[in-house]
């Protein structure tokens, strides 16, 4: 039997995907979380009209609409609307249940691999991707050049990818 909680539970499975999608449009973590939370509130109101197959496309549409509302509300100037549309079209194409499945596996491996990173790599990742600090200001804070921060970020991601690959090979 379909109930609001079942539909919501299914919707929450897409949370991480939707937040990444909203982030690609808004380029702001907290706004992207707001957009997705608003989409979930819409699900809790309209759950009876939704079925499992239409849930993800519907969530994508609502998340996009909420993201655009937030851009307007915050008076953010989208300098390249054409670029945003192009980004959006790629997300519409690739974001589906099989992608979700792949992401889940990736996430499980990442959980193990992230602890192998050095503290300075963690600091650079949170500073650059969460706090949106420039490589220059991170360099200043960490007593390094901006270029070495860029290299640290790139190498950390490469190391994580290698670790994830090893972990998936080992499990298969």
């Amino acid at each position: 039997m379909k109930s609001r909680q079942i539909v919501l539970r299914k919707a929450f499975q897409y949370q991480s995907l939707l937040e990444s999608y909203a982030y690609a449009l808004l380029k702001d973590w907290s706004l992207s979380e707001d957009a997705v939370q608003e989409a979930f509130i819409a699900v809790s109101e309209k759950w009876s009209e939704l079925d499992e197959s239409s849930l993800l496309p519907w969530l994508k549409t609502v998340t996009k609409r909420r993201s655009i509302d937030l851009i307007r509300k915050r008076k953010r100037i989208v300098q390249r609307e054409d670029l945003m549309e192009l980004v959006d079209s790629h997300f519409q194409n690739f974001m589906d249940d099989s992608f979700l499945d792949m992401q889940r596996k990736y996430k499980a491996s990442l959980q193990k691999c992230i602890s192998s990173l050095r503290p300075d790599a963690i600091q650079a990742i949170t500073g650059f991707y969460i706090d949106k600090k420039s490589t220059e200001s991170l360099g200043q804070k960490m007593n390094r050049s901006a270029n070495s921060i860029r290299i640290l970020l790139m190498r950390s991601r490469q190391a994580l990818r290698k670790c994830i690959l090893r972990s998936s090979e080992a499990s298969s």
Binding site: R80, N93, S115, Q123, Y129, I130
Partner: protein
């Protein structure tokens, strides 16, 4: 090469030429797919790195067994027997670690260790403490939590009136119901946290399953589910980490709607007061990660609010802020209105309040050191009688006030002093509030509890 452009796009720092270059690249579906994957990867890595950097690992502390001395046991058993004959209401013997206030009918008493409770008794925890029911069910109370034991016969019915209780319920043969203001929880045997606070209730599952019942609706909650009830609506908020977002929103909305609020600034929405015509302006600094995942704080920054009749302080006020200072320096302003009428600041890791104008000007510093790089809730209240300072809901200083004149025509500044602009706060400032009443000590403690999501 592509990744560098992807990063710049996601960090909003593409030049026109780079944007054009990225657009050309994204015309290729393969690059499009690479970009989508890269964005997802960025989100996951950033989330996990943040968790790795900030969240300490939780340790489960094994519960110590409670032993009672024989004399205490016999005394309590005798007392229980007397009570049994005096009172025909259903009752149970509980073992508690002390410091509950008991209100049962006309009886008021302070319980110690093993005690009798009767149907209708209401217990309020006077500190973080716990009690066990005869079947081994444990209720861990946070300070201030209040539970009424509605029914104690075969079926157990408890009402959580207020606060935060962690339930570890043993498998039950009969009904075990916990009522919250808007719904009931039917328990078979499981572990979960329940919270009731000012228009906000939540059930956070740890193990097993419970059944939520609201009027005709009934549905199960199982491990890792979190349910939130607020503003008349019930939301399943999914994984546990979402809960702080909802708690933060409930707290933020409450401060915005309060009639006492002169100013409430949350660094996400930039600025709010119930008078929307007031404007705040970011003068310097920037927003960075806040106390709650997804929410922001002001880092090494200054916000200005122009003076107007709407921010007149009257003859009393409360001011509070969540702060995380990175350097212990003398004169580190948190929120100020000029250099006198209102000046909440840190002085060498100690909280300091300045108040009054002209001859009535005064100030004092609490003699308690605060730890850098940690979030603290700091507050001050000033009225015609006294000025008080608080850290994390506890009073840390008080001084008498003579002839207070609390108002002036200076602008309000967050993170700086309009009197001496070169002095600024070093670190992060979260939510800031200015209320038109001097709150009582218990109200300050409640403000801290409501806005503290780390518990």
């Amino acid at each position: 090469m592509n990744e560098d452009l992807f990063d710049k796009y996601l960090n909003d720092s593409l030049s026109d030429q780079e944007a054009e270059e990225l657009k050309t690249l994204l015309e290729d579906p393969k690059v499009g797919e690479e970009f989508v994957k890269y964005t997802f990867e960025t989100k996951l890595i950033a989330d996990m790195a943040q968790r790795q950097a900030t969240i300490p690992k939780k340790k489960r502390v094994p519960k110590k067994k409670k032993h009672f001395s024989k004399p205490v046991f016999f005394f309590l058993a005798a007392a229980a027997a007397v009570l049994f004959f005096l009172n025909t209401l259903p009752q149970v013997t509980i073992q508690n670690k002390g410091d509950f206030h008991k209100e049962g009918g006309s009886v008021l008493s302070s319980l110690r260790q093993s005690s009798e409770i009767f149907e209708g008794d209401k217990l309020t925890a006077l500190r973080d403490t716990e009690l066990s029911l005869p079947d081994g069910t444990v209720l861990v109370f946070r300070d201030g939590a209040e539970v009424t034991f509605q029914s104690l016969g075969e079926a157990t019915h408890l009402v959580l009136n207020e606060g935060n209780v962690h339930f570890k319920v043993q498998p039950q043969k009969h009904d075990f119901i916990i009522s919250l203001p808007d719904f009931d929880i039917e328990v078979v045997g499981t572990e979960f946290l329940v919270e009731v606070n000012s228009g906000f209730s939540s059930v956070e599952m740890i193990e097993g399953e419970v059944l939520i019942k609201k009027e005709a609706e009934s549905f199960p909650l199982s491990e890792t589910d979190v349910l939130v009830q607020r503003h008349g609506g019930m939301h399943l908020v999914g994984p546990r980490e979402n809960l702080s977002y909802y708690k933060w929103s409930a707290w933020s909305e409450m401060m915005k709607e309060s009639q006492d609020t002169l100013i409430y600034l949350d660094m996400d929405e930039n600025f709010h007061t119930h008078n929307k015509s007031m404007k705040a302006k970011l003068i310097s600094g920037k927003y960075s990660s806040g106390r709650v995942k997804g929410k922001k704080s002001l880092e090494n920054g200054v916000i200005e609010i122009r003076d107007s009749a709407k921010v007149d302080l009257g003859d009393e006020y409360t001011v509070f802020a969540w702060v995380n200072f990175s350097e212990s320096i003398y004169y580190s302003p948190i929120i100020t209105k000029g250099d006198s009428a209102l000046r909440l600041q840190l002085d060498d890791s100690k909280i300091h309040i300045g108040y009054g104008e002209n001859e009535s000007r005064s100030f004092f510093t609490a003699n308690k050191l605060m730890e850098p790089m940690k979030w603290h809730f700091v507050a001050a209240t000033v009225n015609a009688r006294s000025a008080k300072l608080f850290i994390n809901g506890h009073k840390v200083g008080e001084e008498p006030v003579k002839n207070p004149i609390l108002n002036n025509t200076k602008r309000i500044m967050v993170g700086a002093s309009s009197g001496i602009p070169s002095r600024t706060f070093v670190g992060r400032i979260g939510e800031v509030g200015l209320l038109k009443k001097a709150y009582s000590e218990s109200q300050i403690s409640e403000l801290f509890e409501l806005s503290n999501f780390s518990k």
